[in-house]
């Protein structure tokens, strides 16, 4: 019983990071309708930017914010410089996936060329151990969880209470209609890529803090559970991705407590395949999202 409670605690902590990443992934997909596989590599870029800034002696949480914003800027450049021109040329979705896969690999090996292929670490940043509800968590895990909650709340308020959020939701639901209503959809798209990149970079740094050692493949390994979370919640659905992240985090943490941890990511894989075959729109997918997904 104690094992179960403890592993759920770890799952929630891991799920917070997952949810951060998955929300960014799904937000950008929902609005620009482009599946961005280079998202994982952008996450590694974030982690390595964090490493660089820690080397300058900055505070870890400040590093997380600056790193996030920097990756957000990279993400906008990626959209403006590569994705948008190709979409304008009428490239098929499959071609775009290959382009983002390639871009991801280029980014990964830029990291190798600059920082080398070696395993890196932020050092031990976990802080004091806290006990509550039968969970034993580190301060870092709790702070990351709190940051994730604040960001999710902020995103919720942005999407529901502001003009910009309404424009974003409109663009996601029907781009053409949104444009004819006077919404500057390409600017909305830029904003979505920026926010997605920011979530991505912050998730990358948060991940690097919690797992303690990483190399340039950090993000592409983490991409699978993130995609699982996004697919579970319904691709393009930010709220779905939040819940999906928590569910995937808890399920894989519990399963690795009772089963060989080496198979932990198999759970994520199973979720993707089952959801795809049984309910491709995800648990919370709307009918609009379904129309987007089914060919």
């Amino acid at each position: 019983m104690h094992l179960l409670v403890q592993s759920i605690g770890f799952g929630v902590a891991a799920g917070a990071v997952l949810a951060l990443g998955a929300v960014g992934f799904t937000l950008q997909f929902g609005i620009s309708n482009v599946l961005n596989i280079s998202y994982g590599s952008l996450m590694s870029v974030g982690a390595f930017l964090g490493l660089f800034m820690l080397g300058l002696g900055l505070n870890i949480w400040l590093v997380m914010v600056i790193g996030g914003l920097a990756v957000g800027a990279c993400s906008v450049v990626l959209n403006r410089g590569l994705i948008t021109p190709l979409v304008r040329k009428g490239m098929a979705p499959f071609g775009l996936v290959i382009v983002t896969v390639s871009a991801g690999i280029v980014l990964e090996y830029v990291i190798v060329a600059v920082a080398g292929p070696a395993t890196q670490t932020y050092g031990n940043r976990s802080g004091a151990t806290l006990n509550f509800l039968g969970w034993t968590l580190t301060t870092a895990q709790v702070v990351i969880f709190a940051i994730a909650v604040v960001l999710m709340l902020g995103l919720h308020l942005l999407l529901t209470r502001t003009q910009l959020g309404r424009a974003m939701r409109a663009t996601s639901a029907n781009r053409t209609l949104a444009r004819s209503c006077g919404i500057a959809t390409s600017r909305i798209s830029d904003i979505a890529w920026f926010m997605s990149g920011t979530f991505c970079g912050m998730a990358g740094i948060a991940l690097a803090i919690t797992i303690e050692s990483f190399d340039f493949t950090l993000g592409s390994i983490f991409l699978i559970p993130m995609i699982a979370a996004a697919v579970l919640g319904g691709v393009g659905q930010p709220y779905g991705a939040m819940i999906g992240g928590l569910v995937v985090g808890i399920v894989s943490s519990v399963s690795s407590a009772y089963w060989d941890p080496a198979y932990q990511s198999v759970v994520a894989f199973g979720i993707i395949i089952v959801m795809l075959l049984v309910r491709p729109r995800g648990l919370f997918g709307s009918s609009t999202a379904t129309r987007k997904l089914l060919a």
């Binding site: 390639s102 690999i105 080398g116 592409s220």
Partner: protein
């Protein structure tokens, strides 16, 4: 269909060849573990690798039958290939786990190293020619016409009475068999195989070969593979080594590969050699260029 999991088929062929020729895993001091462990002759093992490759290809193809968006499907394929490597790496007693298989016998091991290498080159060249001819039969005959029709417009092909599902799976099986053989030939030469050898970046190398050479042109794809494999992935080894930067040359190779893929998709999506469309009689009036635009929609 976009098969980003093709590397899994190659890996399946390589592992099949490995466990069928290595002999029991108690040999060699028992430092590696794997299932089966027969000592079959080279050609039997290659045929088995083709069969397993075909089987795995069909299995992957089944997940692709579900009618979902192209890019979503591509993502699933990518996930399959990453996960297959993870699962095999996590199970040490199945196919050697993360360290993989080593000491896989070379069919020309009893020749001197140089003669053996050239004999191997000759054999692979022969296999390529045979493969090319088989592929020509497959893509130029009535079957090839049916496949083209299916690719360009599935509904129209189905309306003409072709069984789209059967044809898709058949294509997967044929492609899988080729992948299986290529995996077997590769592993018999390099002598070892592990999950690290078929990370998903390797799939990109295959895709780049196809894109650079020209999709739908057998000759172009063969040439593209040659350019990618020989010039890019091996050629970077001849760049001057910079001692302070380990892995830099490899990084340059992969970066060039990625940039090349993007550049070709952007500037010349049809590849160096475009697909030559066989002409059947007179083209329909006003629809001569119709085939070119059909690719874009999903």
């Amino acid at each position: 269909m976009a098969n980003l999991a093709y590397i899994v088929v190659i890996a399946a062929g390589a592992y099949t060849y490995g466990i069928l020729t290595l002999g029991p895993d108690t040999g060699n001091g028992g430092f590696q573990q794997y299932v089966l462990g027969y000592r079959l002759p080279f050609f039997v093992a290659v045929v088995a690798a083709a069969a397993v490759g075909a089987g795995v290809g069909v299995l992957i193809g089944v997940t692709g039958l579900k009618r979902i968006r192209q890019d979503y499907q591509a993502m699933v394929m990518l996930v399959i290939s990453i996960m297959a490597a993870t699962v095999i790496g996590a199970a040490p007693s199945f196919l050697g786990g993360e360290p993989g298989l080593s000491l896989i016998p070379n069919p020309f091991a009893n020749l001197s190293p140089v003669t053996g290498d050239w004999a191997y080159v000759a054999m692979v060249a022969f296999a390529c020619v045979v493969g090319y001819l088989v592929m020509r039969r497959f893509t130029s005959g009535p079957m090839g016409r049916a496949l083209r029709a299916m690719r360009d417009d599935e509904h129209a092909a189905a309306a003409m009475g072709f069984s789209v599902i059967k044809m898709r799976l058949l294509t997967q099986a044929v492609g899988g068999a080729f992948g299986g053989v290529s995996g077997a030939l590769l592993v018999a030469f390099i002598g070892g195989w592990s999950p690290g050898a078929w990370a998903y970046v390797e799939t990109l190398a295959l895709l780049t070969a196809v894109i650079v050479g020209g999709m739908g042109n057998d000759f172009g794809v063969s040439l593209g593979t040659f350019v990618i494999a020989v010039l890019l992935l091996q050629g970077v080894q001849f760049l001057p080594q910079i001692r302070s930067h380990t892995g830099l040359t490899e990084a340059i190779g992969w970066m060039t590969l990625g940039i090349m893929t993007i550049a070709f998709l952007w500037l010349r999506p049809q590849g160096v050699f475009r697909e030559r469309r066989p002409r059947y009689g007179q083209p329909a009036v006003g629809n001569a260029a119709g085939g070119e635009v059909a690719e874009g929609h999903s």
